[in-house]
């Protein structure tokens, strides 16, 4: 795993997301309270890089982001689409260290376009 520092915690308003460029990949990073989540920024239903701009919500205990385009919901923890469980987004490791947000990428993983 290699870690990339992406921003400071205050750069993300609580309850919202930002998009980070991590080794060529677009990663959507969300802050819910003091918890952080990271998943792909690509909405597979509309094929646009927009998930970081979606609203964060909860269904029961599950936290999700709803795509701003057609409102498909994706579990923040697992990447699974709540509306179509056959679809699952890549998720990434993310950590907070001294007020800074880091995203982890497995070493050797192919870099996508």
């Amino acid at each position: 795993m290699s870690w990339v520092r992406v921003c400071r915690l205050e750069d993300i308003l609580p309850g919202s997301g930002v998009c980070a460029l991590v080794e060529g990949k677009q990663v959507a990073v969300f802050r819910v309270g003091e918890r952080l989540f990271a998943l792909a920024n690509f909405d597979p239903f509309t094929r646009a890089n927009v998930l970081s701009r979606g609203l964060v919500g909860s269904k029961g205990e599950r936290l999700y982001v709803a795509s701003p385009l057609l409102k498909h919901r994706f579990d923040l923890e697992s990447g699974e689409c709540l509306d179509d469980p056959s679809i699952r987004l890549p998720v990434y490791a993310v950590k907070l260290e001294a007020g800074e947000v880091w995203v982890g990428v497995p070493v050797g993983e192919k870099v996508g376009t």
Partner: protein, 838 residues
């Protein structure tokens, strides 16, 4: 090793089979051989390809196929070696344990001289449509050969492409398979009224060429018809060539013979969809194909399901004309009786076929009005006993048509074969809305035609269960929007978090967050991007622009009343040029600039504000525009300055956030060129003042506005509008336009008039004060944003880089540009591998 299933053909039915199989098992190694250059798409909706915006017709995504573990071979299967169990393509040999043929059919082109000329087309694939579209650009007159269902669809497409359109049918009427003489005649009348030439009882003898291109059709009766584009739609033929060539049993007139488990004469090979022949019959519709797909998926996983034929009933909307045909439409049952209703003036024809004793419905034909199709079809399929079958054609004055009473076995969704009983079961086990019903039963996920019926069943069943249809905003707030509004107003809540803590539960969602943000904005009019509010806003409000399908935004500066100086027009043009934006005049009398990347928005707005513009709130559930006609300033009929009033109203209410968007218009006289009676608030000038209309709507369900008060002076007019808007804001549901709100308002228009004009609730002063507060606190949101560096830093695509999103690809069109469609990109932008956990 897992058993290998190879599917030939990735059309609608091949796709459904993969889906149905994977829903039952992860066993089997799956390969699909697909000849078309993309994954399965919705052929039933093929004609929508010509819609703007172009819809996404795909049924499956590459991610989904990867998730299912399906290998995709993009090639045509050229041969089957049944001995060795191998399928061949030009470059590969693919072994199978089980082979599934889902090769569909091809359009039949009659052997007419000239059928291969340039300008002759078929109508089956997206590639066909792309070619037709290109050819149509330099054509004037198009002819469709074949007046059946698909032919009429093709005619609709030619009309959309701007061609003079003709349909030529061999039989003496249109849609001979579904319609009788009268029905066909009414349909012909309707098409002709749209400007389509209809030529029945015509047989084409040859197609004449000029310069190698299509020029005219010549018929056997000696007549002819000029044409520079010809579409053949004379029926379909099953694609059974692989089966034939490998010695499988095929029907006399084509089609791969199958049994009730979709098995062909070789036990290792199955056939499903339009290529299959079951008991001498080919089914040219998607629903029976889907049923075969499900039967086969169950059969391969040990289920019992068997195919037992299908019903060829159809309901469609062709060129805007509703047509339905079901059951024994031609009264072929011995003793059957026909009952007709026809009103060609109104454009309606209905025929019902009844059993000999007149107690059961056997079938029918509907043209011009198919509202009762689902109900009638249900009554026929389930042989429901009827007391007064004539009420089905002309309902008695009270009580309406016999809608309820559908038995539980009635099929509500024919695409997915879901009965009313299955829906009720799902409702009893917890489904409370259409979305969850769709998910649980898959009903409504095909053509969508049954969704209204699903709504009826839902309501009926909930009523039966003694539940009311919940008005709760969502799982986080057990209150309606109206109740929440009062809670916020009376208790003075200022943030979502505080309200959630005291009155809600959980974390919130994409429904309640924007709804509460809107309530807070209506009441306090604080800057929507305050830290406490920004994360609640839908992306449009969050970035103060409208997100487009590729993630870019559109920008709409306010142009009050539609009046604009040449200097400002030039300024807009300069901004568009500078940032490379697509420009379009909107339906709301202003100009939309499309294709702005997130990081460009602040720069664009800095320029626009410098030129004197303000935010147009096209992104908000807020006042949009006040349309105007030119009025007495120029018009010879005008009796008041409609532009002046429109500008004053727009400036008064701009930025006002509401449960849904609000539109207004002002016309200078009764000719109503500003279409004020189609607006939430419409004002029409009279000799003595202004008439105020409310609760009109264009859009999905147009509603004519109602006159609230007449001959008002401007001061009274404005006072009434203030009260009206604030009363609506207080009491409407989330995303409820004023038109729907009024329809649901107890007491209706009379009550509304009492509240607004007579101030019966004594609320007038309070509502006006609330509006005054809004007007005093109005600020242009873009101006506020540009002054706030903290907010500006959110306007970039990456938090850690200045690079733009590289997934945004534009292509040229009509001298400007637009986002590329998937198939125009060289490579599919799949950014990441699937299912990754570091």
């Amino acid at each position: 090793m897992a058993k290998r299933i190879v599917v030939v053909g990735n059309g609608m039915v091949g796709h459904k089979f993969l889906e149905a199989l994977r829903a039952r098992t992860q066993d089997y190694d799956l390969t699909v051989i697909a000849e078309e250059p993309r994954l399965a798409y919705d052929r039933v909706r093929l004609s929508e390809f010509f819609n703007e915006p172009r819809p996404n017709l795909s049924l499956g995504t590459y991610e989904q196929y990867a998730g299912w573990g399906v290998r995709i071979v993009n090639a045509r299967a050229s041969a089957i070696d049944r001995e060795q169990r191998i399928v061949r393509t030009a470059h590969q040999e693919i072994p199978y344990d089980t082979l599934v043929l889902a090769t569909g059919s091809y359009p039949f082109v009659p052997p007419i001289e000239g059928r291969d000329l340039e300008g002759c087309f078929t109508y089956r694939t997206l590639e066909d449509l792309t070619r037709i579209e290109a050819w149509a650009q330099h054509s004037r007159k198009g002819v469709v050969i074949g007046g059946g269902l698909l032919g009429l669809e093709a005619a609709g497409a030619l009309l959309k492409l701007g061609l003079e359109t003709h349909v030529v049918e061999f039989a003496p009427r249109l849609m001979p398979v579904q319609l009788d003489e009268l029905g066909g005649r009414l349909l012909k009348q309707k098409l002709e009224a749209m400007g389509i030439g209809v030529h029945v009882s015509k047989s084409t003898q040859r197609i004449e060429a000029r310069g190698g291109r299509v020029a005219a059709l010549h018929f056997t009766d000696g007549s002819s018809l000029e044409a520079d584009l010809v579409v053949f739609s004379a029926g379909i033929r099953p694609r059974d060539e692989l089966a034939r060539q490998s010695g499988l049993e095929v029907g006399e007139r084509g089609g791969i013979v199958i049994d009730e488990h979709c098995r062909t004469s070789d036990p290792h090979i199955y056939a499903i969809g339009e290529c299959a022949l079951y008991r001498g019959r080919i089914y040219g519709l998607v629903a029976p194909g889907y049923e075969m797909a499900r039967v086969l998926a169950e059969h391969l996983t040990g289920g019992e399901r068997a195919f037992s034929g299908a019903d060829l009933s159809t309901k469609l909307k062709l060129l805007g004309v509703e047509v339905g045909s079901f059951g024994d439409a031609f009264a072929q049952t011995p003793g059957a009786r026909e009952m007709l209703y026809s009103d060609f003036g109104k454009g309606v024809y209905k025929k019902l076929v009844l059993s000999e004793d007149g107690r059961r419905l056997l079938g029918g034909i509907l043209v011009g009005d198919t509202a009762d199709y689902a109900n009638l079809h249900g009554l026929a399929t389930n042989a429901v006993e009827l007391d007064n079958p004539e009420h089905l054609l002309i309902p008695p004055a009270q009580g309406g048509p016999a809608r309820a009473g559908l038995p539980l076995t009635a099929r509500v969704c024919s695409c997915e074969n879901v009965t009313k009983g299955a829906l009720c079961q799902a409702i009893r086990s917890g489904c409370r809305d259409i979305a969850s019903l769709k998910k649980a039963t898959r009903a409504g996920t095909g053509c969508g035609g049954c969704v209204a019926m699903m709504g009826d069943v839902l309501k009926e069943e909930l009523l039966r269960l003694g539940e009311k249809v919940s008005e709760h905003l969502c799982e986080h707030f057990p209150y309606s929007r109206r109740e929440l509004f009062d809670i916020v107003r009376v208790r003075g809540y200022k943030t979502f978090d505080a309200l959630l803590r005291d009155y809600g539960r959980g974390y919130g969602c994409e429904v309640c967050k924007p709804a509460v943000a809107s309530i807070l904005a209506s009441l306090y009019n604080e800057y929507v991007l305050e830290d406490a509010h920004a994360p609640l806003q839908d992306t449009n409000d969050r970035f103060l622009a409208n997100m487009q399908r590729d993630g870019t935004y559109s920008v709409v500066p306010r142009i009050p009343g539609g009046e604009i100086t040449p200097e400002k027009l030039i300024a807009i043009g300069q901004v568009a040029k500078k940032y490379g934006l697509y420009t379009k005049i909107t339906g709301g009398q202003r100009i939309d600039l499309f294709g702005a990347r997130l990081e460009q928005l602040p720069h664009i707005w800095a320029d626009l504000i410098a030129a004197g513009f303000e935010s147009g709130h096209a992104y908000g559930k807020a006042l949009r525009t006040v349309k105007s006609c030119v009025g007495d300033t120029w018009c010879r009929y005008g009796v008041q300055d409609s532009v002046g009033l429109a500008i004053r109203l727009e400036n008064r209410y701009k930025g006002l956030r509401a449960p849904h968007k609000i539109k207004m218009a002002v016309s200078g006289c009764t000719r109503e060129c500003a279409e004020a009676q189609g607006k939430d608030v419409g004002v029409i000038a009279t000799e003595r003042g202004w008439n105020l209309y409310v609760c009109g709507n264009g859009g999905m369900k147009p509603r004519h506005a109602d006159l609230l008060a007449a001959d008002l002076d401007e001061e009274t007019l404005v006072r009434y509008i203030d009260r009206f808007l604030m009363f609506y804001i207080r009491t409407a549901d989330r995303l409820q336009r004023t038109s729907v709100w009024l329809e649901k308002l107890e007491g209706g228009l009379e009550y509304l008039r009492e509240v607004i004009v007579e101030d019966k609730l004594g609320l007038g002063a309070e509502l006006e004060a609330q509006m005054a507060h809004h007007i005093q606190t109005y600020r242009c949101e873009w101006k506020a944003t540009l002054e706030n560096p903290d907010k500006l830093k959110h306007f970039r695509h990456f938090v850690n880089s200045d690079a733009p999103d590289d997934n945004i690809v534009m292509v040229e069109q009509r001298g400007q540009h637009r986002p590329a469609y998937d198939f125009e990109r060289n490579t599919l932008p799949l950014p990441l591998a699937m299912g990754v956990e570091p």
